[in-house]
């Protein structure tokens, strides 16, 4: 069963034995033979030498008495030695004296020259040995004998030895073979057995087999024991491993099952989450839609209410009695409050929903302050409060300009509301540690400490019980959120009895972008400005007029010295002049007649703004408009507008197209414009607007965005891509809540964006005058 490899150790052992025995025997035989040969040769030489001596001594007389015959007789005795092939005796002069040869052909050896100090030499050559010996008689060299012998005996004995050695060698090798078979039994077979077991274990992974023990002691026994022990160990390990593996498999199965279960749960869960998310998104979309609809649907009618009630108070369509006047004022006030409330609620909703997007830019604080103060001044004036501002020129913040103004107006509105008549409201801003701190400080009663924390909560109203003050209760909550959206904080410092101070911080504007704000303000100030000279010696009244007119875009020059007024007017050549009556040292009546009689100023329209209620006298003296103080901004601006329009000589027939689907709003806007002398046509939807523009190009379009069928966006896009209408001025007037992208789009493609959430009429008129400076109504 053993393969070639299996018995390799046995073969190796056998070979080892044979090789060792063979080598030893060979060496021994060689040594013996060599020794024997050497001995044999020495014996042979010795025999030859003896023979040479005998022959020499027996040949002395023959040599001395020159008797070769006698010498040859002596030599012939060599016949007895069969190994001697030939021999010769030489005289001292080297001549061959006598010779002998065994066979006829054998050559007689030459007499080699003997060295003087040697009596005998021999040499082996060509299977023969030649021995030369001197013949000395009585101490005298008498001749030389030379014997040549074959080495047949040597050869034959060598052959014999070799034969014996061969026999011995083969016998010994056979013996070694026998011995090695014993070794094999003793050594190789256990090892082969061990190897076989090891191979079986390796191949079959069967660790239960054991190697059989053959000896009681010795290294092999130790080896086999160790191997068996190792096998036992391995078997144990294998079993342990198998158990562990089985256990592991079981656990893996369990885990897999658990995981699959968990996975399906997670999948079910994630599916439900997905559905919830979809529902949420849908709900959120509904909410957005609702907010958008609400803002539009609520504001549109309210704007009509506000607009028409305001128009009515102007009494252009007939005088109102005091009661009517008062009722309309109630309608207007109630409407305004409602609008504020709606705006606030929508704003708060948007903020809470995280849908309020800020359009951050660098805002010049003084500009914003001026605009806000202009807006709020009338409110303060009503309560005879001083509204003061204090800001370093050039200070700017990073903010959404609309929201920044909203915050300021909210805070100032609150201050006005809670500060008693004749109080003072101070608006200030300064830079501190990389931020701009804005403060609104009033001289009101202050806020009790216990209320200071709750004051920013929605619907919380200071002094809830007394109901003296009006408001939504949302203002501060919205303000606070807006400030926080800007990355700032709204705070309050107040002590009852010593006023309150609301303050907030905003980041300072990036220096690089500051010019953008200036550019935008430059855009507002069109080069075709209209200069108005205001003659008023009361500083506060002058400031108010200045503010009203400036906010409408006019270039206002103040004159507080009536004596110099004529020169100034002649020099400046303003488009219009407003003038007080009660002035010193020259009163308004005198001044009016001077203006009208001076050819340089006779053509300049004059608006009288006075507490003296004598319009007839003003008219008789040549005044164009007569306004009784207190001055309403709208009244003032309308009067100035009329004056200016009167002054224009060139008329235009092209109308302004008002596109608005809400009939009241459409009528209100149309009335607003025609009141100021503009020719107006209207369109109730997008399709009508499209066909009107296609039929006849209007001077300008006032466009609502939300229209049935064709939206304002669509119209705007169409007009801008058409070369004929590419430069058509378009003002967008909408109550829609616009995203930042929408706003960007409109600002790029339309000349103006007006949102009905904010007061917009004045801005519209101002911008109209700037965009269409020469457009006049002929009928006006």
């Amino acid at each position: 069963m053993l393969t070639r490899q299996d018995n390799s150790i046995s073969r190796k052992l056998t070979w080892m034995n044979m090789l060792v025995s063979g080598a030893v025997l060979l060496l021994a035989c060689t040594a013996f033979i060599a020794y024997d040969m050497l001995t044999f040769r020495a014996t042979m030489v010795r025999n030859l030498s003896t023979e040479a001596q005998i022959i020499g001594s027996n040949s002395v007389s023959a040599l001395l008495f020159n008797d070769p015959q006698s010498a040859e007789n002596t030599l012939s005795a060599l016949k007895a030695a069969r190994n001697i092939m030939s021999a010769g005796i030489y005289s001292t002069d080297g001549r061959l004296f006598a010779s002998y040869s065994r066979d006829l052909g054998d050559q007689i050896p030459e007499a080699p020259a003997l060295p003087s100090d040697q009596i005998e030499i021999h040499r082996f050559k060509n299977k023969e040995v030649v021995l030369v010996r001197s013949i000395v008689f009585e101490g005298k060299l008498t001749g030389t004998v030379c014997i040549r012998s074959d080495v047949k005996e040597l050869d034959s004995s060598l052959k014999r030895y070799l034969g014996i050695a061969g026999i011995v060698l083969s016998v010994c090798l056979v013996a070694a073979l026998l011995v090695s078979s014993i070794f094999r039994k003793a050594v190789a077979e256990p090892i082969i057995h061990l190897a076989g077991v090891a191979r079986a274990v390796t191949r079959e992974k069967n660790y239960s087999v054991r190697a059989a023990r053959t000896h009681d002691s010795g290294e092999l026994a130790i080896l086999i024991d160790a191997f068996n022990e190792m096998l036992a160990q391995t078997q144990q390990n294998e079993n342990a491993l198998r158990e562990a593996r089985d256990d592991l498999e079981q656990r893996v199965k369990e885990r897999t099952a658990e995981l699959e279960k968990a996975k399906s749960e997670v999948e079910a869960f994630s599916f439900s989450i997905l559905r919830a998310k979809e529902e949420l998104e849908r709900a959120s979309k509904f909410k957005d839609q609702f907010l958008s609809t609400m803002s539009h649907e609520l504001r549109t009618p309210l704007n009509a209410v506000l607009g028409f009630s305001e128009l009515l108070t102007e009494e252009r369509y007939g005088p109102l009695n005091e009661r009517q006047q008062r009722y309309i004022k109630h309608i207007h006030t109630g409407g305004k409050h409602l609008l504020t409330l709606i705006n606030d609620i929508l704003d708060l909703s948007k903020i809470e929903a995280g849908r309020l997007q800020l359009t951050l830019e660098n805002v010049l604080v003084p500009t914003s302050f001026a605009e806000v103060v202009d807006t709020m001044r009338s409110l303060a004036d009503k309560k005879s409060q001083r509204l003061l501002q204090e800001v370093p020129s050039g200070l700017s913040v990073r903010a959404d300009p609309t929201r920044f103004k909203q915050v300021l107006m909210n805070l100032i509105g609150n201050a006005i509301k809670f500060t008693p008549e004749g109080g003072e409201i101070r608006l200030s801003a300064h830079e501190r540690e990389g931020a701009v701190r804005v403060e609104v400080r009033d001289s009101g009663p202050g806020i009790p400490v216990e209320e200071q924390k709750r004051i920013f909560e929605a619907f919380y109203r200071l002094g809830e019980t007394d109901k003296k003050t009006e408001g939504t209760g949302l203002g501060l909550a919205i303000t606070r959120r807006l400030v926080e959206l800007h990355g700032g904080n709204l705070g309050l410092e107040s002590q009852p009895g010593s006023g309150s101070c609301f303050y907030f911080t905003l980041p300072v504007a990036d220096v690089v972008e500051t010019h953008e704000v200036q550019t935008s303000t430059m855009e507002i100030r069109t080069p075709e400005f209209v200069r108005i000279l205001v003659i008023e010696d009361d500083r506060a009244a002058a400031q108010l007029l200045h503010s009203h007119l400036t906010s409408a875009g006019y270039d206002v020059v103040l004159c507080d010295q009536p004596g110099r007024a004529l020169e100034m007017a002649a020099e400046l050549q303003p488009s219009a002049i407003t003038m007080d009556i009660i002035m010193k040292p020259v009163n308004g009546w005198e001044l009016l007649s001077t203006f009208k009689t001076d050819p340089r100023t006779a053509g300049i329209p004059i608006v009288l703004v006075t507490i003296v209620d004598q319009p007839a006298r003003g008219a008789s003296l040549g005044a164009d408009e007569y306004i009784v103080k207190p001055v309403k901004k709208a009244t003032l601006l309308a009067a100035v507008e009329r004056c200016l329009n009167h002054r224009k000589r060139i008329g235009r027939t092209r109308p302004i197209l008002v596109v608005e689907d809400d009939a009241p709003t459409r009528e209100f806007v149309a009335e607003l414009l025609s009141k100021r002398g503009y020719v107006v046509t209207t369109a109730a939807d997008g399709a009508e607007a499209r066909s009107q523009v296609a039929a006849s190009l209007p001077e300008l379009v006032i466009l609502d965005l939300i229209l049935p069928e064709v939206s304002g966006f669509q119209l705007l896009a169409e007009w801008r891509t058409n070369a004929r209408t590419a430069d058509l001025p378009v003002f967008v007037l909408t109550s829609k809540d616009l995203t930042a992208e929408d706003q960007d789009y409109i600002r790029t493609h339309a000349g103006l964006l007006l949102q009905k959430q904010q007061p917009w009429q004045e801005t519209l008129i101002t911008q109209l005058r700037r965009t269409l400076p020469g457009v006049l109504s002929e009928k006006s």
């Binding site: 008495f65 010769g88 061959l96 050559q107």
Partner: protein, 205 residues
């Protein structure tokens, strides 16, 4: 040894000296060249007859044993004497000069009277003394003197060793009886190479 056997010996020896495998032609050429030289060797002056005889005279002394009681006069030297007219000339002098026999220096003496021969070990009797041979031999009888002569019939007449010529080769005859009567022992070696050995005055051949 004759020239032919010498030549053949040389010839064989020469052939043996050549390495195996030499072309036979070369061997022949060399052999021819050597034959020329052997011709020259043959013409070398052969040793003169008396030169050989002088050498033999000396050599006889090496193969002879004298009786133990040598006469006192013969003690210090080994006398080789020439009686009668000396045929050797100076050759014998040069041959014997410096030599020793029986452990004693060899002295050459030329004598004219047989009475003087008593002290000699070897006595060469010139052929000029043929007439007085009987008296001479009688005079030296039993005195242990080896007598040598080249006169014809010497051994027959009582002499011990007589030179003879075989062709041009010098040989000698021995009368053992004469020698024994003088108590001289001649070596068998000497007898072996003698041309003939006689006993009782008669030729042994």
């Amino acid at each position: 040894m004759d020239t032919l056997s010498l030549r053949s010996a040389i010839w064989r020896g020469l052939l043996a000296g050549f390495p195996h495998g030499w072309p036979p032609l070369v061997g022949v050429l060399v052999a021819l060249a050597l034959f020329g030289t052997t011709g020259l060797l043959a013409q070398l002056p052969k040793p003169n007859e008396y030169q050989v005889k002088a050498t033999y005279l000396y050599n006889f002394g090496r193969f002879v044993k004298w009786p133990g009681a040598v006469p006192a006069g013969k003690g210090d030297s080994f006398s080789v004497c020439v009686l009668g007219q000396d045929p050797f000339g100076s050759i014998l002098d040069s041959t014997l000069a410096g030599e020793a026999l029986d452990g004693k220096p060899v002295v050459l003496r030329r004598i004219s009277k047989s009475q003087d021969a008593g002290e000699c070990r070897i006595l060469f009797i010139s052929s000029t003394e043929e007439k007085h041979l009987k008296e001479i031999l009688t005079a030296i009888d039993e005195s242990g003197v080896l007598t040598v002569s080249d006169m014809p019939g010497f051994t027959r007449r009582g002499g011990m060793i007589q030179f003879i010529l075989e062709g041009d080769r010098v040989r000698f005859e021995i009368n053992v009886t004469s020698a024994e009567s003088a108590r001289l022992v001649l070596s068998s070696e000497l007898l072996k190479v003698a041309a003939s050995v006689k006993r009782n005055g008669r030729s042994g051949d």
